[in-house]
Amino acid sequence: MTKDQETELLDRFNLAVFLEAVRCLDENVSTAREIDIAMRAGAGLSEGPLGRADKVGLDKVLARLEELEARWGDRFHPPERLRALVASGRTGVAAGRGFLEY
């Protein structure tokens, strides 16, 4: 597998998981903190999807989703909640706030 393919594969997996987590948040299925706990304790992920996105930087996550949306369509459409967080400067760990607080 080439380096580019590897990046694409992992990004698509991580972002599909991230987007579903955001949908759960939008539908009030659970809280950001609990979603991350559940994905670690129940699915064995090394990091929760929301905390991971905060760490990467939500501005970067948004930009990557826009690329993937252009290439693969609607299912990568960036959620409003993500745009709002980026617009208000809550871009994740570096900013002290994102989906979670730091």
Binding site: R12, L45, E47
Partner: protein, 283 residues
């Protein structure tokens, strides 16, 4: 509400392990089944789990005996009048779960908490015919429950918040991690994980990759303890397919697994349990 005594209905794959986890925390638990053979196998499995803990030096033989004695196997509802919590783990059939919980409701006190370990059925529908549906919660343990720390505590449309609080307290008291989930198809973990698996299957196709190399890359990235294909094999491809179909019906195309897994199932390859899935298993 404090749970002094619990009961588990169904001594199968999940029920036996859930009863073991409860007894390990020092609580008495009734393990009820309708099939004597299943009840015997369930108890043997619990003994095995305790045996392994003793072998690993995590429990003395004496303590293991004491905890094991907390599990009371039975075929009837004897002693259910002072049970504070009943966890239903009978087969995944809506009508059966409704009937069993209806039966139980007549045996327990007014304030007892009722829980269902359903993987995918709506808690609201399971509780539909109960006299007091507000006390039914989903308590979704993961396989194998003796190892997995997470329990999703699911609120149906009619579940009262106070019962959710009690369920979370109970889950913590048996040294598990409880998260609050509002009912939706797939609940939380299966829904989010399946979204990832479906995307990996699409990436496999788009980039012409092999399952083996994908698993290797995912494992090397330390994102997850095993790659998605090994995980699907471990889960059972038929079960993964069922879950994905439920999710696709509820949320749409993003949960479409394509025909990759369906083709394997059609060849009788349903994962590790049949010796073959994406990988071949021996012994």
């Amino acid at each position: 509400m404090y749970v002094f005594k619990a009961a588990v209905l169904g001594a199968g794959t999940m029920g036996a392990e859930i009863a073991q986890v409860i007894s390990l925390s020092g609580l008495p638990v009734v393990l009820k089944d309708v099939d004597e053979g299943q009840l015997g196998r369930g108890m043997a499995h619990i003994r095995e789990i305790y045996g392994r803990r003793v072998q690993r030096g995590r429990l003395t033989e004496h303590d293991a005996e004491d905890r094991l004695a907390l599990v009371q196997p039975q075929l009837d509802y004897k002693g259910f009048s002072d049970v504070d919590l009943v966890i239903e783990a009978v087969p995944e059939k809506l009508a059966l779960k409704q009937a069993v919980l209806g039966e139980v409701e007549a045996q327990v006190s007014m304030t007892a908490l009722l829980a269902t370990n359903t993987s995918a059925l709506p808690v609201t529908e399971i509780g539909q015919s109960l006299a007091r549906p507000q006390r039914l919660v989903g308590m979704h343990f993961f396989f194998p429950a003796s190892v997995m720390k997470l329990v999703e505590v699911i609120a149906g449309e009619r579940t009262d918040e106070e019962y959710i609080d009690s369920a979370i307290e109970f889950v913590e008291s048996i040294r598990r991690v409880g998260v609050r989930v509002r009912e939706c198809p797939g609940f939380l973990v299966n829904r989010i994980l399946m979204a990832g698996l479906a995307e990996v299957l699409r990436a496999e196709r788009d980039l012409s990759l092999e399952p083996r190399e994908i698993d290797a890359v995912v494992a090397a990235s330390k994102l997850a303890p095993m790659g998605p294909y090994a995980l699907a094999d471990a889960l059972g491809l038929d079960i993964a397919q069922d879950v994905a179909q439920t999710l696709q019906a509820a949320y749409g195309e993003r949960f479409d697994l394509g025909d990759r897994i369906a083709n394997l199932i059609a060849q009788g390859k349903r994962g590790a349990k049949t010796g073959e899935g994406f990988y071949t298993y021996t012994g």
